[in-house]
Point group: C2
Chain length 203, copies 2
């Protein structure tokens, strides 16, 4: 097994603590203590908690950005992509749980997040356009693309918050419900080819 670098060890320990309670309750001292490391050593690698949050965001991004992974081009690939994303969002669940708060604490993170999110929005539209071009979606009017893209953005980012505001337990299965919502939003526009291909998948 490859040895984790100290940086990666710190990020893994921070991720665990952030996911467990809110990020403000997990100080850099707590993170250092969890690793049996001095605070000085931790601060040598990350100047503060914001820098750790930023690095974890970049980690999550590298796993989810459509630039870094293949665009889904069939309805089956789209479904598998959703299942994959559900796992990553669960792995980094502190981030969407505290999204707006974290952005408000770090202008640099906010600027970067918005830039990536605008790019992400463009990519999601391309995915839907490709699914339509490949005969999986029958999109009657252009604004339906806007509708579907906004649905994906709302669910990816705020399904966690949606569960919280209803007092629902935020576990992996409930979080994946956001992807069910996206697939339901697509349903009126699925073609016979898509329904046929999805026949064996529980959508």
């Amino acid at each position: 097994m490859p040895r984790l670098t100290t940086k990666k060890k710190i990020l893994a320990a921070a991720l665990k603590l952030f996911n467990g309670k809110n990020t403000q309750a997990a100080t850099t001292n707590h993170i250092a203590a969890a690793l049996g490391m001095s605070s000085g050593n931790l601060h040598y690698h990350f100047k503060n908690r914001e820098a750790i949050v930023f690095a974890l965001y970049e980690q999550m991004l590298s796993k989810t950005m459509l630039e870094h992974i293949d665009f889904p081009v069939t309805i089956t690939q789209m479904h598998e992509h959703q299942l994959y994303l559900a796992k990553i969002y669960w792995e980094y669940r502190f981030f969407n749980r505290e999204l707006l708060f974290l952005l408000s604490r770090d202008p640099e993170l906010k600027a970067r997040y918005i830039k990536e999110n605008i790019g992400h929005k463009r990519h999601i539209r391309i995915v839907f356009e490709q699914l339509a071009a490949n005969g999986y979606l029958d999109i009657p009017e252009d604004h339906v693309y806007t509708q579907l893209v906004d649905t994906v953005l709302l669910c990816n980012q705020f399904w966690h918050s949606h569960l919280e505001t209803l007092g629902s337990e935020v576990d992996e299965a409930n979080l994946a419900g956001g992807f069910g919502h996206i697939e339901e939003a697509m349903r009126p526009y699925l073609t016979a080819k898509a329904l046929d291909e999805l026949g064996t998948i529980k959508i």
Copy 2:
């Protein structure tokens, strides 16, 4: 013109400050100063900022809860209800802008909000069922209700956040876009009767 009670004056001044910048930047001292009032006098009416936030939430609730206003029973009434809500959400925009943060600061507010939100979810479903019973919606399967209800909850609560994460300006018109999203989500299920009635309305 009726004289505002001191309590109402405080709430009006706080609302203006909260909407202008984030709630944490507007202290009770700032609110008192805006009214030319001593902090002592303000604290006689509200023990802290959380109490003011809570009272403003209750004000907003009294204007939006379907228990307090008539349920829309035609597609035109539904559309008018959305326009009305858009105005209220703009009036109290600090609340949805900082929703999750505010709930995390005050367990009492969080408990009350969740309770009301669960009730609200039930009422939204009743509205859709009535629209279907009145011939405006053709709902093919029961889970479409769940889909539409979740769409309303997502848009009502998180459209503001959605705009922020795209770096879009949060003004009254953009905020009302959330209601456009809801109406688009309903579109595949609108009956000929609904489309006919909506003919003269820009949906």
